[in-house]
């Protein structure tokens, strides 16, 4: 594991924090509009990418 894995850990946590914010903005029923749905998709993609890098680092 390298510094990259640490960096990606923060990236993932920060992306999930942005997801938290979407929950805050859409409470209590969390009905998302198209823009918010798109943002959530981008967040999930970003988190998956970070997790992929961390996984890769683990197998090095």
């Amino acid at each position: 594991m390298s510094e990259k894995a640490v960096q990606e850990t923060f990236e993932a946590l920060f992306a999930l924090t942005d997801l938290r914010q979407i929950f805050r903005e859409t409470k209590p029923d969390h009905k998302l509009n198209d823009e918010q749905k798109k943002k959530v998709e981008e967040i999930l993609k970003s988190v998956r990418r970070s997790l992929g890098v961390i996984e890769e680092e683990l197998t090095k």
């Binding site: 923060f10 946590l13 920060f14 924090t17 938290r20 914010q21 805050r24 409470k27 209590p28």
Partner: protein, 394 residues
């Protein structure tokens, strides 16, 4: 939901519920502040790059020094220090200016920490009475000063008045009070705990000698956090540095400020405050929209027969005192859950933050809610009213 550790539950009420708690909304963190908490949570995290002269407000990485300069500018004052809550700002000023037996003018709606700050300094509070609209006027302040002068033979040492109070969220005549303070040559501290960070506030425009704000009440920051700002005229007194010298070691700590007890917000609280600052600077420009939302909500709230609003109307602040004695309290009288029926009904609709069990006079705050959430909230109140046969005007 899983706990953080055995007996500490995850706090997800801001993600799951509409929170109308009177004092929580303005301190709700921005995403940037939440990220700062993740990264800077370790104890002395701000001290990584602390170099000579070894004082918090002089640290350049992260840019704490620059933040202090920009914060002072944002507040319309010359100098500022971050402190653990507005109360520590009151304390620093009172401790610097007030001596044993001195009188200090405060509002009849002053926060208890203003009392404590004066007491700690050995002073005596003298309260300005409210007018019939629950407002502190400049005229009443001048009358109180004259009364103190007559009774004690001395002028008060300090005037400390809230911009918006915590009981009604009413706006008080701070500009007029600042003028009065100038006429009597008494320094004026404007308590902006419910103002700085949610609405535009410029200390010098107000005419304040001191401007105090709260991070956790109104600056999207964690508790405790706050700020005390002043003019160059007063900075040397309130931010004076230590003159003490150890008799054995001859040690001196020259750069450290006495009232601040050296460094103040060391760690995540300050960095979160800094992280929220750009969003705070932006959000104060949209205060008008927050006022439109609370007034929309109040209009809908008042359609419920028996509801009253003891706060000034139309609303100038999102923090508001409401009275449901003539509506929901009537239901509470015969309900098996008494006043808690109302909390249950709100909870069922994913609304929290009311004073649990209270159905007479209580406070709420709509700051930061979206229009959809405001409308949802208004509908929820009317829905509960209809459920219990309380008339709701069309």
């Amino acid at each position: 939901m899983k706990n953080i550790i055995e007996d500490i539950e995850i706090r997800a009420r801001e993600e799951l519920y509409i929170n109308i708690h009177p004092i929580q909304p303005g301190g709700r963190l921005t995403p940037a502040a939440m990220k700062a908490m993740i990264s800077y949570g370790d104890g002395y995290s701000t001290c990584d790059w602390c170099r000579k002269p070894f004082r918090l407000d002089k640290i350049k990485r992260p840019s704490i020094e620059e933040f202090h300069v920009e914060l002072a500018e944002f507040l319309g004052m010359d100098q500022v220090r971050v402190v653990p809550g507005a109360r520590r700002g009151f304390q620093a000023v009172a401790s610097s200016l007030v001596e044993k037996g001195d009188s200090v003018i405060v509002s009849s709606l002053a926060h208890y920490t203003e009392f404590l700050a004066v007491e700690d300094a050995g002073g005596i509070v003298k309260e300005v009475p409210l007018n019939e609209k629950n407002i502190i006027t400049a005229e009443a302040t001048a009358r109180k000063i004259e009364e103190v002068k007559r009774e004690t033979g001395k002028l008060p040492k300090l005037i400390m008045i809230d911009y918006f109070d915590y009981m009604f969220g009413n706006e008080h005549e701070i500009r007029g009070i600042a003028k009065v303070s100038k006429e009597y040559e008494i320094p004026f501290l404007c308590n902006g705990a419910y103002a700085v960070g949610v609405l535009p506030v410029n200390g010098k425009d107000i005419g304040a000698d001191f401007l105090v704000g709260s991070g956790h009440k109104s600056f999207a920051s964690p508790a405790p956090s706050g700020m005390v700002a002043t003019t160059n005229e007063w900075a040397g007194k309130v931010f004076r540095t230590t003159q003490m010298c150890g008799d054995v070691t001859k040690r001196k700590f020259g750069i450290k400020e006495v009232e601040m007890l050296g460094c103040t917000l060391m760690g995540a609280n300050l960095i979160a405050m800094m992280a929220s600052f750009p969003a705070v600077k932006e959000r104060v420009k949209h205060w008008d929209d927050e006022i439109k939302k609370i007034n929309y909500f109040m209009d809908e709230f008042l359609k419920i027969e028996g509801n009253k609003v003891p706060s000034e109307m139309p609303r100038k602040h999102t923090l508001t005192k409401v009275d449901t004695t003539g509506s929901f309290d009537k239901i509470a009288q015969t309900h098996k859950r008494r006043g808690f029926f109302f909390s249950d009904e709100l909870g069922d609709r994913k609304i929290v933050g009311e004073f649990a069990g209270a159905t007479r006079a209580w406070k709420l705050n709509t700051y930061g809610l979206t229009w959809d959430q405001i409308k949802y909230l208004a509908n929820a109140f009317q829905d509960i009213a209809r459920k219990y046969g309380i008339k709701v005007l069309a």
